[in-house]
């Protein structure tokens, strides 16, 4: 019950926040940006506000956090009090500070992973759609096969082979995600490559790279951005699930996915500690997708008018 009341209060509070943020944005934004800001639904304003806050928290983590990321500053599981606003974790580290540093690490890793997955996946997908023929067949069948392997187990295999440094983690999750991106990019690009302007460019004798960069990518961006939003958030979950299965991020680095895992048992006793990192992930997921939905809506709206 308390949770529901809390949620209701949070939603009620977020509406004026989003409203105020939109007003501020309209004032502050340069002229050509002001129109979309005015046009923005409250959900998107809320999403942008949250993302902005996360970015600020991530950027200024050392300034904002009351304690260092990894320092043991008390006994384990201290309750919330004046010194440790959100208590301490299982090793006696300040929970709030770890959440703040977690923003930096988690968002950074998730962004790097997703960006990599999108660069690789969408380029290959567009290339396959553009070239068609045997190249498309070989790539698509191979991706099909990879997708037929459960992603978590595949990631587990790869991480066990290559080790669990942050770089490997990023590479492996990106590789697994890239297969999904490939599929989407390919199908979107297949819709684009039949357009006359692609035919015109081909007949002009343009190379693949020009076609991908100038002709296809800009037109395939909207659905890819939407997918980016979801995939970005799924990276946290993958890290969390991997850490459930005994892999994951290198301690003592704070990241939300592992923090959920580390403290998850506490929920068995009704302790809300693990809800904090989980809530941080959920809030970001919702925020990112609000913004993505708005961008998609804008993209489709503009298309109708054109």
């Amino acid at each position: 019950m308390a949770v529901l009341v809390f949620l209701a209060v949070a939603i009620a509070a977020s509406i004026p926040l989003a409203y105020g943020f939109r007003m501020a944005l309209m004032r502050a934004a340069p002229h050509h940006m002001a129109a979309p800001a005015r046009d923005m639904p409250l959900t998107a304003a809320f999403g942008l506000l949250v993302i902005l806050l996360y970015v600020i928290v991530a950027a200024f983590a050392p300034v904002l956090a009351p304690f260092p990321e990894r320092a043991v500053v008390g006994v384990q599981f201290q309750p919330w009090d004046g010194t440790h606003l959100l208590g301490t974790d299982r090793l006696g580290r300040d929970m709030l500070s770890r959440l703040i540093y977690g923003a930096r690490n988690t968002v950074g890793i998730a962004f790097a992973t997703t960006a990599l997955a999108f660069i690789v996946g969408s380029l290959l997908g567009i290339w396959a759609a553009l070239r068609g023929g045997w190249l498309d067949q070989v790539l698509s069948r191979f991706v099909d096969a990879l997708m037929a392997i459960p992603s978590l187990i595949f990631a587990l295999l790869l991480l066990t082979i290559f080790g669990t440094s942050v770089t490997n983690l990023i590479l492996v999750i990106a590789a697994v995600d890239a297969t999904r991106v490939y599929r989407i990019a390919r199908s979107v690009a297949q819709g684009v490559v039949v357009m006359d302007y692609i035919e015109a460019a081909r007949l002009r004798g343009e190379g693949n790279w020009y076609l991908i960069r100038h002709e296809i990518l800009p037109n395939a961006l909207a659905p890819l951005v939407a997918e980016f939003g979801l995939r970005f958030c799924f990276v946290f979950l993958t890290i969390s699930s991997l850490s459930f299965l005994g892999l994951g991020i290198q301690p003592p680095m704070a990241d939300w996915g592992s923090m959920v895992r580390d403290n998850a048992t506490l929920i068995t006793f009704g302790n809300v500690t693990p809800l904090l990192p989980a809530g941080a992930i959920a809030l970001l997921t919702v925020a990112v997708n609000f913004v993505v939905d708005w961008q998609l809506y804008r993209a489709s709206g503009l298309k109708e008018q054109g």
Binding site: A145, L146, M147, A148, I153, I161, F244, L245, I281, T285
Partner: protein, 317 residues
Amino acid sequence: MNAVLVMIAQRLALGVLTLFVVSVVIFGATELLPGDLASALLGQTATPETLAALRTQLGLNDPAPVRYWAWLTGVMQGDFGTSLATRRPIADMLSARLGNTIFLALYAAAIAVPLSLILGVLAALWRNSLFDRVANAGALSAISFPEFFVAYILIFLLAQSGFFPSMVRISPAMGLGDKLYVTFLPALTLTLVVTAHMMRMTRAAIINLLASPYIEMARLKGVSPLRIVLRHALPNALAPIINVIAINLAYLITGVVVVEVVFVYPGLGQLMVDSVAKRDIAVVQAIALIFASAYVLLNLTADVLSTLTNPRLMRRK
């Protein structure tokens, strides 16, 4: 109809190719894993002598291609071989667990698919309303919690109070009602995990069509909004919806190892993770093939259904 049969045949052939690639990838990856079955079985107790003896006994001394070939020829004759770790026939080991996995997947799907369709249709109908926003945010929140955490919360809320068991103890002798009761929590967990995706896709696929001329036509014919969504938009949005359902069903079969662990559910995922840890390649391969087949067949089914529900593809001019 003939075209559909040809398509099925082609896709099955491609599916076999996919399975082959999967088996090579899995075999290669398992080979690359540090250690082998012998060292995994003996663990820290391993000594060079026992390792050598065990390797000889298990036939691990042959080069990898020879072992792969032996496995492949066995599988082609329908023989999955025996687990090297437990020395039981793999087919026996898998059958009960496969049944469990499919049961749980179907159970979760039976809740999740109608639920997400209804929510998706309503969200499309009342798009940009409060309902739409709340359903959307709720669904996104549900998928942004890790599965095991959703499971823990459900256990805390529904098992500790005694409504449902916190762990699944399932036996073949159980009646369906009991089975449904004891597996309710894992099914609910999975429902929460997959509903969001399907719901959002349903909503998006329908809204995507609402700008179509035939929808405008229906509105100009005085058709009510609900009827427009159900009768005019939904049948045309079926292909992407069927596809996303297939993907999620495949996930329910292949991707639920975490939920299996939390609810102590004897499914294939746990067996696969264990077998990877033990380097029991034959078992890993067999499960990988089952998973890949599920994926291939579900995708094929989705495509066939999309075709069957699309008169343009079904009835030529």
